[in-house]
């Protein structure tokens, strides 16, 4: 089983952060929320492993 990677893993972190904010540029709150939800579902499907997803949910909840 793959472990959830919570170490730095994204090459060029500033560049990624820029792209993340960019995609929300000019959107209403409603459209941004919808985009975030779609993004979460797309990434979750890519990960696919229920254990990893469960650990990620807990990490996001900071519990």
């Amino acid at each position: 089983m793959t472990q959830l990677n919570l170490n730095p893993n994204i090459p060029d972190p500033d560049g990624f952060y820029d792209e993340l904010l960019d995609v929300h540029q000019g959107l209403t709150k409603e459209d941004s929320d919808a985009l975030n939800a779609r993004l979460i579902l797309i990434l979750a499907n890519h990960i696919g492993e229920r254990d990893v997803l469960r650990t990620a949910l807990a990490a996001a909840k900071r519990s």
Binding site: A34, A37, L41, I42
Partner: protein, 371 residues
């Protein structure tokens, strides 16, 4: 007993209470029926029409047509009847909504102006998900809606009632014939309440998708629907009700050992899946008794356990030209012995089994291990 032809009296040692969701017997015994009421009304309009729509089940979330409510369903039934179901929400005027003119206006908006149809039957329903804590109270056994009530999504009502009957019939038979302890009937309650919980869980999940209960759940629901039109991955997340499948009795007291590295779908506790044989089908051969199913394996020498007959069904590769038995019961293993209950659930399975292995498992399945 009250009947249209007048009342009569009957005395019985055992009572199976199949008297429906409002069970008078349950009330007379002062037993509770706890769960959750879903605050929603659904309008059913069965219409008679000859339409050239494909025979598909159509489900609309936030339908585009006028006054359709939060969701709508259209599916074909026999004899040119189409069932239309509108989700109306909680605060409605029932009498007004059942006015045929009002229903026709909704149906016209859905089917398009000029659609020719007759209203066959209309009704408004609400639903609850709840169950009794225990389905057995001494010699009174609750079955069907009297024991558990679910939403109609996924055909779980009548199916679970029939599964209750299949679970109970053989157990009561063995107890009445003195071949099993009364404790066997407690397993009816534990197995079928386990199944009821599964049904309630599925119903609740479908309802939460249909009628999101918070802002964020609406956001995710709509995100799933948007993605589903673009990408295959999101389609399994769309939940307009999951079709009922029989419960796998995982971890239940009547289960014997699972010693086979076989397919998960035929694991201990699972209902047997059918397979086409050279002649006929597998399930036809599993005829309501304890059965030792030997697949490419030598049959253990056991025909009776404590007065209970054990039948044998022997299959070889020659019986399985399409490989369905191999795929569904063997997987990557070359041979298997399955012990099956009269209701076709798997008690135990082994690569090789002795008469003692089978006898021990039959006794477990007869409730002789329940203390």
């Amino acid at each position: 007993m009250d009947t249209p032809d007048g009342p009569y009296q009957i005395e019985a040692e055992w009572l199976i209470a199949c008297d429906g969701a409002r069970s008078p017997i349950r009330d007379m015994m002062g037993l509770s029926f706890d769960g959750r009421v879903f605050e929603d009304n659904f309008l059913i309009a069965d219409v008679h029409m000859t339409a050239d729509f494909p025979t598909e089940r159509w489900f609309w979330f936030e339908p585009p047509f006028k006054n359709a409510g939060q969701s709508a369903l259209l599916h074909k039934q026999p004899d040119d009847i189409w069932r239309i179901d509108f989700q109306l929400g909680w605060d409605i005027d029932r009498a007004a909504e059942l006015d045929p003119d009002r229903i026709r206006a909704r149906v016209d908006a859905m089917l398009g102006e000029g659609a020719e149809y007759e209203l066959e039957w209309t009704s408004i329903y609400t639903f609850q998900c709840r169950r009794m804590e225990k389905f057995r109270h001494g010699h009174v056994l609750f079955a069907g809606d009297s024991a558990h009530q679910v939403s109609p999504f996924g055909a779980r009502g009548a199916n679970s009632g029939i599964q209750d009957a299949e679970n109970l019939a053989w157990k009561l038979d063995f107890v009445l014939r003195g071949l099993a302890p009364e404790a066997l009937l407690d397993s009816y309650s534990t197995e079928r309440s386990f199944a009821a919980d599964e049904n309630i869980l599925n119903s609740t999940r479908a309802t939460d998708f249909l009628t999101p209960k918070s802002e964020i759940s609406t956001i995710f629901r709509n995100a799933v629907l948007q993605l589903a039109s673009d990408h295959a991955f999101a389609r399994p997340l769309v939940n307009s009700g999951r079709l009922s499948v029989p419960c796998v009795y995982d971890g239940q007291a009547l289960n014997g050992p699972d010693m086979l590295d076989g397919p998960a779908r035929t694991r201990v506790g699972a209902p047997c899946v059918d397979a086409e044989l050279k002649e006929g089908f597998l399930l036809e051969r599993l005829t309501g008794a304890f059965i030792v199913l030997c697949i490419c394996a030598e049959a253990p020498d056991v025909i009776e356990v404590d007065g209970v007959l054990v039948q044998h069904v022997l299959l070889t590769a020659a019986d399985d030209p399409k490989g369905m038995v191999r795929d569904r019961y063997l997987g990557d293993t070359p041979q298997a012995i399955y012990l099956l209950r009269p209701d076709q659930h798997v008690v135990a399975r082994w690569p090789v089994a002795s008469a003692q292995d089978v006898s021990d498992a039959v006794r477990v399945a007869l409730g002789k291990g329940i203390t």
